[in-house]
Subunit: 304 residues, 2 copies
């Protein structure tokens, strides 16, 4: 069994994780959280989002977060949903953009009131423009496995959309199992297909939700398909709106624990990472459920 | 990626799951629970245990459970720790025995106050005798990956002990990651080794704890090593005494969900299985944490 020897973690807690959090987290606490995450060795991170403050008040401090958290040793990504977001990005010092589109047309429609096709037409010139200006661009494909409305998503559609993004010159794809329903075999198949057909220079990250407890199995499966980049969220922050009560993003500390145990280097230290999780826990409304966080409470810890 | 097309689930909830439960569950409720589990399609089960009622009051109703729960369509296993247990088994109508031994000597010593070697010397004649009398015998190897006292367990020791059991004529081995610390790569390696060296007629089951969230990843990995038998516990019943607050055995419903989704037949229906979990939930002191159980509470269910 051949697995990558090194894996990159893209921490999405400060953006994807906190975005759905109803309780407003003060900007200075987010900044402390982000700095603690970086201190644990995290080198790539979704920092915040240039979405409308009216729709997502939690992200209304985006400029402030960027001002205090940019640094040379981390790839700091900011989500830009549209032209307005891009113009805010261009006014900031951040040079890394993340775009989102749902592979499932119905999901995209319900999520941002546009068809997938219309989204692509809006995003294409923005992406090309950012690329011309030397930006790092990440494209996030949500509902790449299942859509809560349409069911199973055709992997050829995922490939076609991925190729479209590749042609636009994006640097990275993040391919997401948004509702946490993909099984490890489907994960192996889709990522094998993408690795086979997409340019080897294109970075491919896998984004799993742990709604049905399969996230670590899916990471293990994706590793076997040659994937060496994973989106994860400290503390498992971020809910899946389709399954209240269930956990959302796979927890960074659980993924890092498993990877470290397999001798796969992540560059991340578990102890300071758990300190970051401990720090943010009081600011989120639901109790954090990651295994490493719960174990750290028992004093029995990692056992090695 | 080649995986078995069919998998056998050995349900351990009524024995391994309830055994550590402080609150006594009345025998008639256990019987209802067991019948509900069987109604979901479960065909192999650890029913109860002939341990000393003084040490484990929860299992003092073993004879009663057996009297009401034996049937021809299920392999009903009863744990027998020693000669006393075997003599109780011989007085019952049950023809399937399970023995336990820790691969780690320190663990075995702390657990039952005997060295692993002394345990084997005690069990060998009992096993041979039961085999002569047509019994089905299962040998459970605990701490087959890690010991809470000794750390990493040498896989050659696991193989040697397995070969010893094979020579005694046991029908099945259950190889356990007792403290839930094994990673998927170690799982693949140990089970590949065992499959390679042990007689192909010997059944091999994998027994995982979800303490660190790796149980489904480990099942997926063991499948790749050719393992097609898994011990699981309805509701994730059963704690790991070394990690209070963390979950214990992998939940049957979470394993069945993943296997079913991969098109691997288990013969078990999720809905009646969740009814059995729902039934036992009020009798256990800690809240059940399986993903399928939590999802069933949200009404969002399995989504397919």
């Amino acid at each position: 069994m051949e697995l990558p020897q090194r894996v990159s973690i893209i921490e999405v807690g400060p953006r994807d994780g906190l975005q759905n959090e109803k309780q407003l987290v003060p900007a200075q606490e987010k900044i402390k959280f982000i700095k603690k995450l970086k201190a644990s060795g995290i080198q790539e991170m979704e920092l915040t989002s240039f979405v409308s403050p009216k729709w997502v008040p939690q992200m209304s401090d985006a400029e402030q977060i960027i001002e205090h958290c940019l640094d040379d040793s981390t790839r700091n990504l900011v989500l830009v949903p549209n032209e307005k977001g891009v113009s805010r990005l261009l006014s900031s010092a951040c040079k890394n953009a993340a775009f989102f589109v749902g592979v499932s047309n119905t999901f995209n429609q319900k999520n941002i009131n546009k068809s997938t096709r219309d989204s692509m037409e809006e995003l294409a010139p923005l992406i090309k423009d950012l690329k011309r200006n030397g930006f790092f661009v990440r494209a996030c494909l949500s509902t790449a496995f299942y859509c809560p409305y349409e069911g199973k998503v055709d992997e050829q559609e995922v490939l076609a959309l991925s190729e479209e993004f590749a042609a636009l010159g994006v640097d990275e794809l993040s391919v997401a199992d948004t509702i946490g329903l993909a099984n490890p075999q489907e994960v192996f198949e889709l990522f094998s297909l993408l690795k086979h057909h997409l340019p080897s220079t294109l970075l491919i990250a896998a984004h799993f939700h742990d709604t049905r407890g399969m996230a670590l199995a899916n990471i293990f499966s994706a590793l076997q398909a040659g994937i060496d980049r994973f989106d994860t969220s400290a503390g498992g922050l971020g809910g899946c709106p389709f399954a209240p009560g269930a956990t959302g993003n796979v927890a960074t500390e659980d993924a890092v624990f498993m990877l470290n145990r397999m001798g796969i280097s992540t560059g991340i230290q578990l102890e300071p990472l758990l300190e970051a999780v401990e720090f943010i826990a009081p600011f989120v409304s639901r109790g954090l459920q990651s295994r490493q966080f719960l174990l750290s409470k028992t004093g029995k810890g990692a056992l090695g």
